[in-house]
Symmetry: C2
Subunit: 349 residues, 2 copies
């Protein structure tokens, strides 16, 4: 099965193209205050090293906007200015070199203000993200409607205003704080417009369950071909957001970042410490730039040989020894104690 992606308009953010047939782009957000330039730059470097392609930064006052300018000069990663409440901060951010502006229709909605921002975006030739959140969406319907419809209707109304100013350099996001509303909102908007979609669940809660919420919502949408860029929001270090995003895209075979590890959950049949081996091996592998090959580390003879054969390199463990497979063929017995070295040697070939 290959995912049949819904093809949207291509929008460029700095040197990164979003939409069309471009690979799904990974974004995250700096969590330090913009004014703390050195901390922001450190976080951007960490995000970039982890695989983040676009970084967003909250601009909450003119001080932040000035800091944004200094930050922009010292980083090559495309920078997005996150603006709420005050449209003049968006104008400043454009002047400071932002690669994209995110406006929240929930708190910047006056036509006159939108017009001024759009005019600045046009001159600077940078795109706009119309970024809605369930926590700030405006209720402009007279009758009670559900959250997905609220988000979609609000987005469509805003798109209409922006399009009336002859601007189509747009990316859309409709983040709800639960999986079901998020999935429904994106499914609806995907059918109604051709702008690329920035996927995310907002306010996901504690990190582990947050990663699970995001995986389900983003995973389900991406499986349906919906989504051009993703941000996994976690109440955690932003680097963790990038790891989660990479794992989601890898699981769906939309992107490849390094070796894919297949390993059994272990059970009473397993006679080696596979949990530790896999955990250590993953840490070692993730810090290296390696080809996206498939490595199977299996604890017994039930599914071990089968998965090991399917992988590029695999070991199916028995009592103490394992049987090494390469490209579908059994090569030789290897001892458990030395198998990590053997794997690393094979990987580096």
């Amino acid at each position: 099965m290959i995912i049949n992606r819904s093809i949207k308009k291509v929008i460029k953010v700095g040197n990164i193209a979003i939409g069309g047939k471009n690979p799904v782009v990974i974004q995250s957000m700096v969590k330090a205050e913009a004014a703390d330039v050195s901390r922001v730059l450190k976080q951007i470097t960490e995000l970039s090293n982890a695989g983040c392609q676009i970084v967003r930064l909250a601009i909450k006052d003119t001080g932040d906007a000035c800091a944004f300018k200094r930050i922009k000069k010292q980083t090559s990663l495309p920078l997005v200015a996150d603006i709420h409440f005050d449209y003049r901060l968006a104008l400043m951010a454009v002047d400071c070199g932002a690669d994209k502006i995110r406006l929240n229709p929930g708190n910047i909605y006056k036509k006159k203000e939108i017009k001024e921002v759009v005019s600045a975006l046009k001159s600077a030739k940078i795109p706009l993200r119309i970024g809605l959140n369930s926590g700030s969406v405006r209720d402009f319907s007279s009758r009670k409607i559900g959250m997905p419809d609220k988000l979609v209707k609000s987005a469509l109304a805003y798109i209409k205003i922006v399009e009336d100013f002859k601007f189509r350099d747009i990316i859309i996001s409709l983040k709800a704080s639960n999986v079901l509303d998020t999935v429904l909102a994106y499914r609806k908007i995907a059918k109604l417009c051709d702008y690329p979609l920035h996927l995310g669940v907002t306010a996901t809660g504690a990190p582990y369950s947050g990663a699970i919420k995001s995986s389900i919502a983003l995973g389900a949408l991406l499986l349906e071909g919906i989504g051009d860029t993703i941000r996994v929001s976690l109440t955690d270090n932003p680097v963790q957001e990038v790891y989660a995003a990479k794992a989601i895209l890898e699981a769906l075979r939309l992107r490849k970042f390094g070796p894919e590890i297949i390993s059994c959950p272990t059970c009473g049949r397993c006679e080696v410490n596979l949990v530790k081996l896999v955990s250590d091996f993953e840490k070692e592998v993730s810090s290296l730039k390696l080809k996206p090959i498939k490595v199977a580390l299996m604890g017994c003879v039930v599914n071990g040989p089968g998965e090991a054969k399917e992988a590029d390199i695999g070991i199916a463990f028995g009592k103490k020894d394992g049987l090494l497979f390469k490209n579908g063929k059994a090569v030789r017995k290897v001892p458990f104690s030395g198998c990590r070295d053997i794997l690393m040697k094979e990987l580096k070939k």
Copy 2:
């Protein structure tokens, strides 16, 4: 949005009903060797305390089968015997009081053997899981077919054999080691038979990406209404499998286990240490038996008041203070330093 579940036959495993309109059941597997009875019992207790409803145990020889009998006598959780290669172990496990037998069609496939096992299951009135795995599925097709079809065809052939012996007390699983094959296989089998489906991805690799793979595959299927019981396979402590399973079911609103926490990812706007607050709060809350209410902990005024209003209890933080919301209404200002105590007090009401 409420998930429209596909209604399957109801199968009972001990006192737990799987299928029909029953809530999705959480399973896991003991990772200790059966012969190590005290370790197995300890793991079963931990799994049960975590929320696991059915536990599986590998029976790899007659010694394990004897141990199974002793274990069964000392636990109230339904126990499933995991059998491979030797059908006589299944017969022994039935005698030892197993609540379900799992057979793998990849390594127990002779009609005569299946007939003997089915006959024992009938007498004992316990069900059979026909559990296929991509690592051990038999290739009985002359032409090349993809993994999902291999799993589905193999399952259907086995079901036919078992049904010919007038036995329909069946649960099916078709686990592949990647998300796409797993989703496709289950989608197909769901249309072709009315037996309840046990969902899982096999050999998921390192714990974090494994949880993400499982979340996507199980999440996408459950969203489509497919799946009656789940097991999240992780190369990790089995208790973690139960936490992941609970988070998946909660995210989809298929089950509720305790307070749902909504919290923002934080950004440059957040002036309190929300990451630590949420992490500590979740730990404290998860050890208590509390009602499944919604708690929002938000770092700023952008989406904070909105999410806090939607929750049963919420705090939207500003500089140092937060605004406490209860049932959609702002109640009073609370200091960051004392907010954990306030939250716990409200939760325990």
